[in-house]
């Protein structure tokens, strides 16, 4: 299989977040959360170090609670495969302000690069569409990434899903804070909520 024209994961994520304004960004367990960190720490970044399969559902809960805010989930193919049922849950709720981007390297990069289901059979774009996320697309160029980065600010036209085929080359490990309570309370504080 040709692996030409695969996009660079860090370039994809930094483009998605370059003009982020009020976006809340959730990074799925694994390299995606590091990619968000590499694009720049931010009070509205939700870094996941566990809870594999939960990134899209955290995004849904946030999107329903804050319907005027763009909520962006950035995760990997393995993490999305583990929470595939959540695409059906999201397709039913249709939160117009939720966008999901899968960085698809067709492998479990954190555990030794074992191939994932997307390498040969599973089509996440088709799954999302079949679950009712009608704006579901495959992205293979940076121009498409730039267009998606603009579109996700429209909180009346989602939910939207994009699968981006990325290269599997290792990148520098840039790690965010591991303190989950700090992460949540920092976002809540930035949204104007007081501590309990």
């Amino acid at each position: 299989m040709s692996k030409a024209n695969l996009l660079d994961r860090r370039q994809v994520v930094s483009t998605l977040l370059a003009d982020r304004k009020d976006v809340v960004a959730i990074g799925g367990l694994g390299a995606s959360t590091n990619d968000i960190t590499a694009a720049g720490d931010h009070a509205r970044n939700f870094y996941l170090w566990g809870g594999m399969g939960g990134a899209a559902m955290i995004g849904l809960g946030l999107a329903l609670a804050q319907p005027k805010l763009p909520v962006l989930v950035i995760t990997g193919d393995g993490e999305m495969l583990m929470g595939m049922g959540s695409l059906a849950t999201i397709g039913l709720q249709k939160p117009a302000n939720l966008s999901i981007v899968v960085l698809d390297n067709e492998a479990y990069g954190e555990t030794g690069g074992q191939t994932s289901h997307t390498s040969a059979a599973a089509d996440l774009v088709g799954v999302a569409r079949a679950c009712g996320v009608t704006d579901s697309r495959s992205i293979s160029t940076m121009a498409e990434v730039e267009a998606f980065a603009k579109a996700l600010h429209d909180v009346s036209a989602g939910p939207r899903f994009a699968n981006v085929k990325i290269g599997s080359a290792g990148v520098e490990r840039i790690l965010p804070t591991r303190d989950g309570t700090y992460i949540v309370n920092r976002i809540r504080g930035d949204l104007g909520f007081q501590p309990i």
Partner: protein, 178 residues
């Protein structure tokens, strides 16, 4: 079709609904169960609560983390067999420290006819306790309001993760056999 041991329409689901409303619960993820059917109907008819059907119970744990981050309280409705599906996702609760309340209709106890329900029903309380979730139980309709009040207060005011087990004695054992 199935019959319930107690055929009269129960009012305890209305008590639960009233308590959840008073505590400003907004997101109600659920996997359906017959014992939750009246409460689910009340939630879906509510203008302040959003009922969110899940494909598997662990989705609800992650959803409640996101809801709280966005400023809303939620409650997860499921039956005891779904508790096992949640185990890894329950690790988010102490790590992210969000208010967690779940109402669990019990199977596999008190007159159960289906042996397949018994293993998970027997370990439900233990699974919660090993995962750091406090367990309260309501065994009859009269104690539902006080148990729900205590559970909601400690979950939302004290951030004490709490599960309320609604016993099969309360909801009525399913009867398929003669």
């Amino acid at each position: 079709m199935h019959a319930r041991a107690d055929a009269s329409a129960p009012t305890w689901p209305d008590d639960i609904f009233a308590t959840l409303q008073r505590f400003d619960v907004r997101q109600v993820p659920y996997v359906p169960d017959a014992g939750h059917s009246k409460l689910i109907e009340r939630v879906l008819a509510s203008s302040t609560m959003r009922g969110i059907p899940l494909t598997t119970e662990e989705e609800g744990v992650a959803l409640l983390a996101g809801a709280w981050t966005g400023g809303q309280r939620g409650v997860l409705l499921m039956q005891s067999s779904g508790v096992g599906n949640c185990i890894n996702m329950l690790s988010l609760i102490p790590i992210l420290r969000f208010p967690f309340l779940t109402l669990v209709t019990m199977r596999g106890e008190w007159g159960e006819f289906n042996p397949w329900q018994v293993p998970m029903g027997s370990t439900t309380q233990g699974v919660f306790e090993l995962s750091g979730v406090k367990v309260l139980r309501a065994s009859n309709a009269a104690e539902v309001p006080a148990v729900l009040e205590a559970a909601a207060a400690q979950a939302y005011n004290a951030l004490t993760p709490t599960a309320v087990l609604l016993s099969q004695r309360l909801i009525g054992a399913k009867v398929f056999t003669k």
